[in-house]
């Protein structure tokens, strides 16, 4: 191993200092650029978690991406195998929302069980789901009626 202790300024003069400053500035610029990208992306990627009641109270605009959490109401889950048309009603004990999606429901999706759907309201008030997530956790229990989805 070399035992030299180059301190930059000895023998290299102004150029050494300039180079050091360049390194520090480059590192700073890097950090700022990443911070900028992060803040920009964060605002765009936030998806609100709402219960059907909250969604109605907020008057969520048509087309705005959101997640609805609640229970799949009994007797409403329909999956048409040939067209792969999926529809069910998600409710929180107070409000109910009709959800329409395409594709087989996730294996854990059951009537009476908790579910989270991601998508947006269409102009007709129907929630068009792009993603259906059945809630499953260590303890297999449906959330109590009226519970907000991110609480367990």
């Amino acid at each position: 191993m070399r035992r030299s202790r180059a301190t930059g300024s000895d023998g290299r003069g102004a150029q050494g200092i300039g180079e050091r400053r360049l390194v520090a500035l480059a590192a700073l610029a890097l950090a700022i650029a990443i911070g900028f990208i992060a803040v920009q992306s964060l605002a765009g990627s936030a998806v609100y978690y709402l219960t059907p009641t909250e969604a109605k109270e907020r008057g969520l605009a048509a087309g705005q991406t959101a997640r609805l959490g609640g229970q799949v109401e009994a007797g409403t889950l329909r999956y048409e195998p040939t067209t792969r048309d999926l529809r069910f009603v998600i409710g929180d004990g107070v409000s109910r929302v009709l959800v329409i999606g395409t594709g087989a429901p996730p294996g854990l999706l059951r009537e009476g069980a908790g579910a989270v759907v991601e998508g947006a309201f269409a102009a007709d008030g129907v929630f068009r789901a792009t993603q259906v997530i059945a809630k499953h956790d260590e303890v297999y229990e449906a959330p109590p009626p009226g519970a907000t989805p991110s609480r367990r």
């Binding site: 390194v23 480059a26 590192a27 992060a38 964060l42 936030a46 978690y49 594709g103 956790d137 260590e138």
Partner: protein, 669 residues
Amino acid sequence: MSIGWADIGAGALRAALLFALGGIVAAAFAARYRDVRGLRSARWCALVAFALVVLADAAMIGALVTHDFRLAYVAGNNARETPLFYSVISLWAALEGSILLWTLVLAGATTFVAWRGTRALPRLATTALGILFAMLAFFLLLVTTPAADPFVASPFVPENGRGPNPLLQNNPLMALHPPLLYLGYVLFSVPFAYAIASLILGEGGDRWLVATRRYALVSWALLGSGIVAGAWWSYAVLGWGGYWAWDPVENAAIMPWLTATAYLHSVMVEEKRRLLRTWNLALVIATFALTILGTFLTRSGIVNSVHAFSLSAIGPLLLGYLVAILVVSCGLMLWRSRELADGGSLGAPLSREAIFLFQNVLFVAATVTVLLGTLYPLIAEALGGVQLSIGAPYFDRVQVPIGLALLFLMGVGPQLPWHGASRATLERQFAAPALAAAAGAALALGSGMRGAAPVLTYALAAFVAATVVQEVVRGVRARRVLHGEPAAHALAALFRRSGRRYGGYVVHLGIALIAVAIAASQAGAVEVERTLSPGGAMQVGQHEIRLDALSEVQEPQRRRVIADLWVAGPGGETRLSPSFAFYPNATQPVGSPGISAGPADDVYAILAAYDARGKAWATIRVRVIPLVSWLWVGGLVIGVGAVIAALPPPRRREVHLPAIAAEAAAGAE
């Protein structure tokens, strides 16, 4: 009344707590007064506490294996039908058991430091030992309070238990993934304890860092293997065709790995250039704090995660522990700030130390942005009262550019000399790798990759691989010239004698492999979903998939509905059986994918829905995912590299003297 598993376990933990507390006193006494008797007592305290925790863990396994439902933990996580293997690994299937395993690893690490670590640097190591005892005492306190006591009795003794979480008894990887993570998490306590000890003693030097380098490396490697094993488990079990979802639990594991990776590199700057002292201390403290934060996030139920543990009273205790760690660490660093001055300053922009600095900035930025995305929902709820989630798009948008920049620096860094590089050096070092990068980009475009990120990933991975090959070839050539060894012998000697350096290169190769696997599997996956009747077929990419039958099987612990698929593709024919499993104590079925893994691509089939009455149809989702198997191979390569780097180099024996003498004699003639 006879003595049960619960009495043995609970008794052992309480006794272990006494020995851990005794260990704190003994180690403090030994460090303060440089007293040998104190050290001897501390060693025995560690060993006895470790033995007692082993006993407690064994008692829990005994209770699980004998299905002793008098214990609430066994009743909640085990059933009579649970196979022996899954009964044993249920030790870490839920909150209380996993903290018990954590305590076991911590007690083991404490014992190892007590008996081995204190041989060198006795004062520093003994002080560190006292800190480890304090941490052990905290965890023993945790497992003996009602919040996380694994040996609490059931309110009533059920006829049969609930059985383990169905997701956890589906795949043997579950046996590997959590213990690897815990080992990684807990082993990082050792560098942290040494760092704090060095601050307490006011040692300005880097002795703590040199003494714990290997612990940090092993901890990092285990954490990394645990993360890859977890990704593999997620891929093989959860049936969504992916392996990483930026779930809070995954983020909790990746954050300390990121800061630990930064640390493993910045350590070299301190060793070689006496720079970045405060920075290295901060990285060790941050890594350790992140392991605790991860535990807090996933064990307290505070964040919403697919596989979070349920809400628990352990949260406030862990939060208090985390705050205490941060306050003490930062306070000590401020107090000792004068001793932490650097012995020089950073060199030219094109020097190895400057690349390490950029690399560290990127790793820390990656950590901070992951942390921001993970905690933002909590902040938004606390401040704005709204519930929101931050999805994968945020993480992808931020982490992909950082990852690409890191990949680039991974190729550049090892090729640059310390202090600065001349133009001639740059040309000599980067001519071949630049050509390789162009070839990599061409390969990506040729294999149908589109988009800047995947093509860049291929190019940079080829760049990295070329730098590694170039280094190894030059190393071998140098040894052949210097020692006259044959190539194979020279290669082995290179890895044996400069394990840290060449092991590091092997790790770089593994990372490049993983980068390519991620790029290909993310950008090149094709998914098709169809509803088929038995006999019906579908085409996905170059593979044809036919549904032969839909059948039902009754097994001891579950009932399964299986889709019998025939798959034909360029690699030949195979059969897959994605299924749904129904467990008696679970309200919902668990889907298992059928996977046919290959070097070119995986065929990943999921039974998405089926006709429960007449078995007349099934909806099958098939994903063809290119190169995804190489992700696990890359993990293995990283593990091998880490082992090479961690193995101590052979003692410098006098074996070279005769050779040199012979050379000298030859020269004299």
